[in-house]
Amino acid sequence: MDFGIDLGPHASFIISAYAVVTVVVAGLITWLILDGREQERRLADLAARGVKRRSATRT
């Protein structure tokens, strides 16, 4: 990978460090988004079956 700058003889260590952080952070973000969608889908399923929170029933 070429960043347009010379990272010297230890470039592989620098690139590996940034790559690991990118992968883990991307994994966390993906997990958070998918988990949120899954919970919202379950709530929608329950609501469709007539199971609602008391506060939701009031409004």
């Binding site: 988004i33 949120g36 919970q39 919202e40």
Partner: protein
């Protein structure tokens, strides 16, 4: 008049407030990290001693700071649960644990990748590295303890107690470079007498630290929102089962 904490104690109000705040925090963290990466690779000069490998510092140090800061948040949330019974305290603690574990893992891995070209080894069993590894295991322990107990109220309390006991790790990590032999450098930013690091490297480091902190804040808010939704789903499923059982009993009579 309600305090901010009291107003946020209502999960519904928290969901409303976090929904409006979250996009701004996400945008701010992306912008700050983007600017930090530009400074890290295109503005910051190579270190006079370590050369280009010092650029690993710009991600290693924010991850290391967050590994400890997130634990402090978990401990404070645990205190809030055990002492004040704050409704969102356990949500906050539970949501922060996997995030803290991830940042601690990243601090260990990036530190190891920085250590190989700098020290000549990926790992040494010195006080700093070993104490951070113990912190990582503590995070895993918090997750394992919570998932191993079926009674959620009991699991929350026991996890909170373990989190409060584990806070002893924070001063041990902080001062581990001051006692005993270690390859790890002593504190060079947060120290009495001010930073010893050159301004040309300090600025990108602080920008990246702010960006990572904003990113954690966004992740924590999202994880708390997910946990609240998860609890709502669970309580509705229980209510549905109870309603079905009551209907069956009524039909049998």
């Amino acid at each position: 008049m309600q305090t901010l904490t009291q107003r946020l104690a209502n999960p519904t109000r928290f969901m409303e407030l976090s929904a409006s705040v979250l996009p701004w925090v996400v945008a701010a963290s992306a912008a700050v990290i983007g600017y930090g990466l530009y400074l890290s690779f295109f503005v910051a000069p190579p270190d006079y001693l370590q050369g280009e490998t010092a650029r690993i510092m710009f991600i290693h140090v924010p991850c290391a700071w967050l590994s400890m800061a997130v634990y402090a948040i978990i401990a404070a949330s645990s205190f809030g649960l055990l002492v004040f019974r704050h409704p969102l305290a356990d949500v906050s603690a539970k949501a922060a644990v996997p995030l803290g574990a991830a940042f601690t893992f990243l601090a260990l891995v990036t530190g190891s990748l920085w250590g190989r070209p700098t020290w000549g080894t990926y790992w040494v069993w010195d006080a700093r590295l070993t104490s951070v590894l113990i912190l990582f295991f503590l995070y895993l322990g918090l997750m394992a303890l919570r998932s191993s107990i079926e009674d959620e109220s009991l699991a929350s309390k026991l996890t909170a107690i373990l989190a409060l006991v584990g806070i002893v790790m924070l001063p041990i990590i902080k001062f581990s470079v001051d006692f005993g032999n270690t390859l790890h450098q002593p504190a060079s930013v947060i120290r009495v007498g001010g930073p010893t690091i050159d301004q040309a490297l300090l600025t990108p480091l602080l920008v990246m630290a702010i960006g990572f902190t904003l990113m954690f804040l966004a992740m924590h808010l999202k994880a708390m929102r997910n946990e609240i939704l998860h609890r709502r789903v669970r309580s509705l499923q229980l209510a549905e089962v109870e309603r079905a059982q009551a209907a069956q009993l009524a039909a049998a009579e």
